[in-house]
Subunit: 133 residues, 2 copies
DNA sequence: TTACACCCTGTAGCAACTATAGGGTCAAGC
DNA sequence: GCTTGACCCTATAGTTGCTACAGGGTGTAA
């Protein structure tokens, strides 16, 4: 399997695959006589895992941990569960923050009376209390 | 007003203030004989504007546009409104995506039976369909 | 005078890629 | 047999929005 095939099989860009190799997230594959990377199914599995975890918003560092943990099949999956829970908490915080921000922005936009910039409520809201200039 | 005072008045780090000057978001202020930056109230107003817009999640490029628009007081504030609305749409999309992700992660975590990694549902969910290795 | 907080410039680092330059390889079609 | 085009290679720089040095200068107070 060439890099382009692996990339399209996992909806990843070729450059990203090479990047994952460079940061040691994906092991270096064998090479063909033309120095092309030759991937096997284990690479496909590992890259799929990485992409899926990334899609779920895990950082590369978290992915690295999850990969290490998933290699030790005998171990309890408590640590895995822990990483996922911490991540869930972070996402919850982000959603809360973004929602608050969304509502404030909505309020700001709602105050727009579509006049000139001079009495634009949006601009006004952004400035400090009565800025003259 | 020295840079440290301006920074603390706007809850900004000194380095960030210098950074904004470097990328021409904040005009270069006068200098004292010791080559210290000397800011006036117009700098305070502008930096407050920038920080407030950033807090609302506008990108620096959007802030730059808003600043340009806010300088032309006679102009209709349609463009300002437009930028804000585009931004609101983006935030809405992010909230939707994050919420979907949150729910999926929650489901994944919920499936954890706290056994060994070998039959960890979280790890399993991350992998492609039955990976053998 | 010496300690300390503050200021200066310039550069490198962070995450997680993405893009570019400047090449090599390979199969198909003429 | 030769060219075209799609693919591959390495190495490096760019992206966003800062943040953190390193290696200096300045100002004030005990």
């Amino acid at each position: 399997m060439k890099i382009g095939e692996l990339a399209s099989a996992t909806a990843t860009k070729v450059e990203t695959v090479r990047y994952y190799e460079k940061i040691s997230l994906l092991p270096p594959p064998a090479r063909t006589s033309a120095n092309y990377r030759a991937y096997g199914s284990e690479h496909l599995a590992r890259l799929s895992f990485i992409r899926r975890a990334r899609d779920l918003g895990f950082t590369l560092e978290a992915v690295r941990e999850l990969l290490t943990l998933s290699d030790d099949k005998a171990q309890s999956c408590e640590a895995v569960d822990g990483i996922a829970r911490v991540h869930l908490t972070e996402i919850d915080r982000k959603v809360t923050d973004l929602t608050a921000l969304r509502n404030e922005l909505d309020r700001v936009i709602g105050s727009c009376r579509h006049g000139t910039v001079a009495d634009c409520k949006i601009i006004e809201t952004l400035g400090p209390r009565n800025t003259k200039r």
